[in-house]
Amino acid sequence: MMKLIQLTMKFKLYGITLACALGLMLVLALGLWCLMTFRVNGPVYQEIEMNQNVVADVLPPPMFIIEAYLIIQEADATKSTTRLKKLQNRFITLEADYHGRYQHWKNSLPENEINKSLLQDSYVPAMRFFDIARDSYFPMRESGQHDAASAILHGALQNAFAEHRQAISKTVELAQTQTAQIEAETARRVTFWIQTMIVISLLSVIALTLLITRMRAIEEAIIQSEKMNTVAGLAAGMAHEINSPLAGVVQSAQVVLNRVSPELAANCSAAEESGTRMECIQSYLTRRGIREMLEGIRASGQRAAEIVASMVSFSQGPGAQADNSVLSELVDHTVELAQNDFDPKRPVDFRSIELVKDYDQKLSKVPCRASEIQQVLLNLLKNAAQAMADRGVRSEPPRITLRTTQIGNTARIEVEDNGPGMPRAMRRRIFEPFFTTRESLGGTGLGLFVSYFIITRNHHGTIAVESIPGVGTKFSLTLPLAGKT
């Protein structure tokens, strides 16, 4: 069961790690894609650049046609035939230049609205302008029809030129609008992707933080478990090694006490053979307080043996068989035991403590050794109750909350108090053997040590503690619901 929990935990960790890695990779990929898309000379840049080129080409508008128009106006103003001829030649060059430019646009510009406006809408009136100038205006001037030519200039020619200019203006406007649109669109896209990257980065960082926190918690639990196993091994080894010499001490004391007793016939005869009587020996032993001291040796040896025994009490054989227990009944029964258990050395007044019971009535029966679970619960209840003495003056009354719940395939028991709580340093050590805060009250510091192994080793469950100084402490036990592994 423990393995299963570890396994699902492992998968969760892998999941979070994978999410982190994917998130970071996504951010990297997006970043690269953005760089590629929006970089100088990238596709978006080129699109903008091209429109700017169109605008640059037409703004200032193609000089050829404007110059041609000015030339015709100048020609109209002059009467000199040589001057007129010169201007006409210049006009022919300009027309050729315009066609050249037009061919360049036609070949280099892709098909779109702007180019259509440039290549068709402005081209048609331009052609008309050049045609009229070439075929009507200059021939009329050559034939001396200055007035008729002037009329054409101010009529058809001017109209064609104006129409061409209008088309050019429209082209510029279109190009500018489109560029502005593309720029706005680009800005929007860049903003969107940067925001997306920030969100993904943040999520990845959150996942990573979660991962690190979980890892640290698991690491702490593993260290705890290793530490406890080391100590348990040490305790078991020590128990074995120390019990033989303790047997020597305890047994020898018992034998000596036996052999100074007047009730044993062998003692009396040995005394007489030694020239004395048991009464004399008795009197001597009483005067010198020797019997009490022998009893002291036996009792101390016995006490040491009991400490050793309680250190390894959780591992004493198969013990009672696991039964299916209703946890709420088990908890209630333990509360009764705690209330009736009066230890003069460690007085606990349960009446002054409010008991809150929050049981999950749907919780299935839990396979466990009831007596062991009761031992653990009794220990937790007593610890909580005794800690209340140190909680100081607080507005809320002392309270112990008992909860049972089902989480997945495990049953969970919580014993929560609103006592003084523990600082972190203490919380980390409470499961260690002989760690006690109530030396003066006769605590041995073995209660939680033994509880730890009853839960983890005998029941394949978990025991954990949360505590906030000044707020309280919560112990959580989990026991697997399915059969033991």
Binding site: A236, N243, P245, L246, Q251, A305, Q316
Partner: protein, 127 residues
């Protein structure tokens, strides 16, 4: 006035344990032999008629379980008590052949030697 005393062999490599247990059982009117050597114990068990042997698990030459099995092969009527300082010791199934079950295991230090003497009487008596 009394039937023949129960003959007990105590085997333990801890001299203080051996000596005090032997002394106590003598005071309780057992006929007691003792040794701290597993090999010597095997000899005694082969030569003498021993009703019950109190055997420590950890001995120098061989462990107590082996001692019991070897002694049982030669003297199937001898009963045994396992006396061990290992609190999680469980009588192994292999010892059942020699009549040793969990009821024959006493943990060190015995809380009361009188109670242990009673156990020995009960087990030696075959009940």
């Amino acid at each position: 006035m009394v039937p023949a005393p129960i003959r007990v062999l105590v085997v333990d490599d801890d001299i203080a344990v051996l000596r005090s247990l032997t002394a106590f059982l003598e005071d309780e009117n057992f006929d007691v032999l003792s040794t701290n050597s597993a090999k010597e114990a095997l000899n005694i068990l082969a030569i003498e008629t021993i009703d019950l042997a109190v055997v420590d698990v950890r001995l120098r030459e061989m462990d107590g379980e082996e001692l019991i099995l070897r002694a049982h092969a030669g003297r199937p009527t001898t009963k045994y008590v396992v006396y061990t300082g290992s609190l999680n010791y469980q009588a192994p199934a292999s010892l059942a052949i020699a009549g040793v079950t969990q009821a024959n295991v006493v943990y060190k230090p015995a809380r009361s030697l009188s109670a242990m003497a009673d156990d020995i009487r009960r087990i030696a008596g075959g009940t």
